[in-house]
Symmetry: C5
Subunit: 264 residues, 5 copies
Amino acid sequence: MDIATVAGLLVGFAFMVIALFLAGSHGGGGVSIGQFIDPPAILMVVGGGLTVVLTSVPLKFFFKLPKVVMKIFFNKPEHVSEMIEQLVSLAEMARKDGLLAMENKVRDLKNPFMVMGIQMAVDGTPAEVIGDIMRTEIEAVGGRHKECKKMLDVMGRCGPAFGMIATLLGLILMLGNLDDPDAIGPSMAMALVGTLYGAVMANMVCIPMAEKLAFLSHEELLVKEIILRGVLGIQAGDNPRVIEQKLNTYLPPKQRKGAHEEAA
Amino acid sequence: MDIATVAGLLVGFAFMVIALFLAGSHGGGGVSIGQFIDPPAILMVVGGGLTVVLTSVPLKFFFKLPKVVMKIFFNKPEHVSEMIEQLVSLAEMARKDGLLAMENKVRDLKNPFMVMGIQMAVDGTPAEVIGDIMRTEIEAVGGRHKECKKMLDVMGRCGPAFGMIATLLGLILMLGNLDDPDAIGPSMAMALVGTLYGAVMANMVCIPMAEKLAFLSHEELLVKEIILRGVLGIQAGDNPRVIEQKLNTYLPPKQRKGAHEEAA
Amino acid sequence: MDIATVAGLLVGFAFMVIALFLAGSHGGGGVSIGQFIDPPAILMVVGGGLTVVLTSVPLKFFFKLPKVVMKIFFNKPEHVSEMIEQLVSLAEMARKDGLLAMENKVRDLKNPFMVMGIQMAVDGTPAEVIGDIMRTEIEAVGGRHKECKKMLDVMGRCGPAFGMIATLLGLILMLGNLDDPDAIGPSMAMALVGTLYGAVMANMVCIPMAEKLAFLSHEELLVKEIILRGVLGIQAGDNPRVIEQKLNTYLPPKQRKGAHEEAA
Amino acid sequence: MDIATVAGLLVGFAFMVIALFLAGSHGGGGVSIGQFIDPPAILMVVGGGLTVVLTSVPLKFFFKLPKVVMKIFFNKPEHVSEMIEQLVSLAEMARKDGLLAMENKVRDLKNPFMVMGIQMAVDGTPAEVIGDIMRTEIEAVGGRHKECKKMLDVMGRCGPAFGMIATLLGLILMLGNLDDPDAIGPSMAMALVGTLYGAVMANMVCIPMAEKLAFLSHEELLVKEIILRGVLGIQAGDNPRVIEQKLNTYLPPKQRKGAHEEAA
Amino acid sequence: MDIATVAGLLVGFAFMVIALFLAGSHGGGGVSIGQFIDPPAILMVVGGGLTVVLTSVPLKFFFKLPKVVMKIFFNKPEHVSEMIEQLVSLAEMARKDGLLAMENKVRDLKNPFMVMGIQMAVDGTPAEVIGDIMRTEIEAVGGRHKECKKMLDVMGRCGPAFGMIATLLGLILMLGNLDDPDAIGPSMAMALVGTLYGAVMANMVCIPMAEKLAFLSHEELLVKEIILRGVLGIQAGDNPRVIEQKLNTYLPPKQRKGAHEEAA
C-alpha cells in the first residue's frame, strides 16, 4: 500500500483545520466549527457531484466508483525489476530447453498478464497473434482506466460550480429576506461555506485523486508493455542478455540491476 | 434502457430542492419557490443556449437534437459477450461449411453492422475491400457522434455566460432605478437567479449529458471494432478459438466467457 | 443558403430583447433601451476585438474577414449523394469506354475539385501523383480554413476581456469622481454594459460562428475526401458497384441510395 | 514589412483612449489621464511578466525576446509564387542540362534553405540524405519558433494574474488604512488600474503578438515544405510541369500561375 | 549553472516589494510589511499545495521534488556543438580503423547516453537493437521528465484555489463576527492576503518553474536524439561529413561549425 494518497488527504485537512484555528485565534474571536458545517451545502456539493457522475456514465460504471477509490488508496506497486528478472530467467530457460520448458514455471508467476503471455508462447501461438492479443489487452485496459479517471475528473471539474450553486441558493434566500440586518453577516458566511466546500472537494480530493489514478494507470501500462516486449523476445528466442538490456531501459538508471551481477 | 442518466438528473434536482428547503428552514424565513422562478432568465439561458446551437450547426443537425437527447435517455447497451458468441459460432460454421453457409444465419443477426460485414463476406468481397468499407463506416459514425456531442458541448459551455448575461441585464436595470432601497435585495436576488440557471443548465444537464453521449459513442465504436475484427477473422478462415480469444480481449476480464466452457 | 446561422443570431437577439422587457415590466420601472447603449463600450469591445484580429494575422487575412462571415451566412451545402451518383456514372463510363471517354463529361461537372481530379485521370497522370496532388490540396484547404476560423476564435476569446476593460474604464472613472452619490447607480450600470457587450459578442456571435465555420470546413473536406477516393477508384478501374458502396459509407444511412435502385 | 501588427496595436490603443474620453465626457466629470497611470502597477504587470519569462526560459532565449518582437513588426512575407517559378525553372534546367547545370544559379537564389537544398542536389547527395537533412531542419526551425512563441504565451497567460496581484496589493493597503473615507474611492480606482493593465497587456499586446508569430511560423514552414518538395522533385528528375502542379497546390487558387501561361 | 531562473525569481520578488513601497508611499500611509504576512494563509497555500502533490503522486515521486527544484536552479546546459564534434571525430576514427578503435575513447566521453551507445556499437550490437534500446531510453526519460513536471503543474494549477480557500476561511470567520466594524477592514485585508499568496505561488513560482523544466527536458531529449542519430550513423559507417551535416541541422545556424573549418 502506497500511503501517499491517504497521507496527502489527511495532512491537507489537518493543515486546513490548523490554519482555521490560527486565523481564528488571531482575530481574537475564536472559531466555532459549527460556522463551517452546512448540511444543505454538503448535500449540494457532494450529492450534486455524485449525481453528475451518475448522469455522465452507464450505471455499471457508477457502481465501480468505490472500487476505484479503494484502488487509489490501497494499490500495491509492482516490483518492476523483479518482474524483469523473472522474464530474463524464463528467457534463459526457453533458450536452453525450449518454450515448453516454461510450462511448469507458469503457475509460479503472479502477474496474470505475464501468465497469459507465457502460456500463449508455450501453446505455440504465433508471434503476431500473441502481439496482437497482448497489444489489444493493453489498449483495452488503458481505455477502461481512462473511463474510471473520467468519473473523478467530472466530479473535480464540477465541484466549484456546485459550490457556486450552493452559495447562490444561500445568497438568493438571504437577499429575499433582508429584514434583519444582523442576520446578513452570518447568512453570507453560510452561503460562502458552499463555495469553500466546492473548492475543497475539487482541489483537495477529486483532482489529486484523478491525477494519482493517471499515475497508477501509466505505471500499470508500462509494466504490461515490459511484459509484452519480454514475452515477444522469449518467443523469438532472443539472447536473454539483450532482452534484459532492452527491458531495463524502461527503468530509471538507479533501479536497474546491472547485466554483470546477473551474469555472475 | 440505462436509467443512470434519468436517475442522475432526477436525483440531482431533488438534492437541489432539498438543500433549498433545508437552507430556508435554517434561516428561519422559509422558502418561497417563486423566488427561484424568473421567466426572463429562463428565456435568456435556455432560449439563448438553444439559439447558440442553432447558430453553430447546419439546420439539419439542429433538428437532430431531440433525437440525440432521447438516445441518451433510452439507449439499450449492446450485449457484447453475446455478440462475440455469435461471431464465434459464425466462424465455426464458416470453417466447417464455407463462407456461403452463413447466408441463412444473416437474417437472424440483429446488429446491422454485423449483417453488412457478414453479407459482404458471403458475397465474396475481398478482405481489403471489407476492411476498407467497415473502417470508413466506423470513422464516419464516430465523426457523426462527435458532431452530435458538440451541440451539447456548445450549450454547456455557453450556459454560464448566458446566466451572466441574464444577471447583467437584471443588475443594469436595478442600478438604473435605485429609487426604492427596499427593492434592491429582491432585485439583486432575481438577477442572481440567472447565474443560478446558467450554472445548473451547464453543470447538471448539458455537460453530463455530453459526457454520457461520449461514453455511448465509445461503446458503440468498440462494438463495431469487435465486429470488424470478427468478420475479418471469419473471412480469413481463422481458428474460431483464436478469434474468440482476440475478441474477448476487448472485454473486461469478468465479462469474458472462458474458452473452456465454450469448447465444452 | 442554410438559414440556421442567420436565424440563430436573430432569434438570440430577439430573446434578449424580450427577456429585457419582461424583466423591466416585472420590476415595475420599465426599460429604457438607452440604458443599454453605450458608444464607448461598443468602440472598446467591437473595435478592440477587431484590432486584436488585425494584430494577430497578416493584413491579407484580415481583409478576408467579411468574406468569411458572408460564407457562414450564405453557404450552399453540397449535395453529397448526387456527387456520389456522378462519380459512379463516371466510373461506369470509364470502365466501359476507357478513361478518355470521361473527357466530354468534365465540362458538365460543377465541383472544381472533381474537375481537377477527373481531368488528371483523363490526362493519364499516374495514380500516386493524382493522390499526392489531391491530398495536398485537401490539407492546404483545411489549413486555410483553420486560419480563417482562428480570426473568429481570437475575437470570441478576447470578447469578455474587452468587456472587462470597458467596465474597468467606467469603474475607475466613477471611483475617481464619487462626489454625487446619486450618480453611482447609473455609472455602475453603464460600466456593466461593457461586460454585457463582451459576453454577447463572444457567446452569441463569435464563438457560434467559429463553430459553424468548423462544421462547414469539416463538410467541405469530407466531400473532397469522397471525390479523392472516387477519382482514385475510377483511375484504378474499380467495379462501379464497389466504388458506390465505399463512397456511400461516408453518408449517414438515410441519405444513401441503395445499390439496388441504382442497378435497376 | 507587414503593417498589420503595428496598425493593430496603434488603432487598439487609440480606440481605448477615444472610448475613455467619450465615457469621461458622458459622465460630465471629464478624464484626467493621471487616474490611469500607476507606476507600481506598471512595474508589477510589465516587470512581473518579464521576470516570469526570465524564470521560464534559459537566459539565451530571454535575450532573444526583443529580436522576436522586431520580427513580428518587421517581417517580410516570402513571395511564394515567385519561389515556385524559380524551382520550376531550376527543374527545367536540371532536366535539360543535368543537375550540375544549376550550380551557376545557386548564387542568385535568395532563400538560404533553397540554396542549401539545391547545393546538396548539385553535390550529388543521395535523395534520402537530402530529404532527411531538410526535414530535420524544418522540424528544428519549427521547434525554435514554438519556444519563441512560448515566451509571449507565458507573458500573455500571466498578465491577468499580475494585474490581480497589483490590485490585491492596492486593496490590502487600502483596507488596512480605512481612516479617511474620502480616500476609498480613489484608492480603489488606483487598485483597479492594475487589473486594467493586466487585461490590456495580455489581450491587446501579448496574445495577439503570439498569434501573429504562430502565423509567421506557419507560413515560413510552408515555404520550407514547398522548397523541400521542389528540391526532391528536381533531384528525381520529375517533369517540371508536374512539379509546378504539385507545388501550386499549396497556394490558394487565386495566387496560382496557370500552367498555360507558364508553358507559353 | 543557468542563472535565469534564480534571477527571475529574485527580480520578480524585488519588483513586488518595490511596487508595494511605491504604492504605500503614494497613498501616504506607508506600508507595514506585517500586513502582508499571514501564517495561516502560508500554511494553507504552500502546505495545501504540497499535500495536493503528495496525494497526486506515488511517495517515491514526492521525495524527488527537492531534487527536481535543484535541477531547475543548477542545471548545466550541454555543449551541443562540442558533442557533435566528438561524434564526428569518433565517426572518422571508426571509418579509418573500424568500430573497435573507439573502445579507448569511450572512457573520455562524459555523456552517459553517448557512452552507452558507443559501447553497444563497439560490442557489435546490431543496429536495430541499438536503435530500439536508445529510442526506448529516450521515451522513458521523456516520460519521467513529464511526471516530474506534473508535480509543479499540479501545484501551480491549484495555487489560486488554495488562495481562495484561505480567503474564504478568513471571510467566513469575519462575517460570523461582525461585532466590531473597525475590524472589518483589516480582517478583509488579511483574508485577501490568501488570494495574493495563491496568485504569487502559482504565477511567479510554480508555473514558470514548470515551464523551465519543460525547456530543460526538451533540450536534454534533443541532445539524446542527436547522440542516437550520431551513433547509428557511426555504426552504419556513414561518411563523417554527412553525419556532421545531419547533426548540425539540429542546431540554430549561428551555433553550427562550418564543414569547411572542420575539414581544414
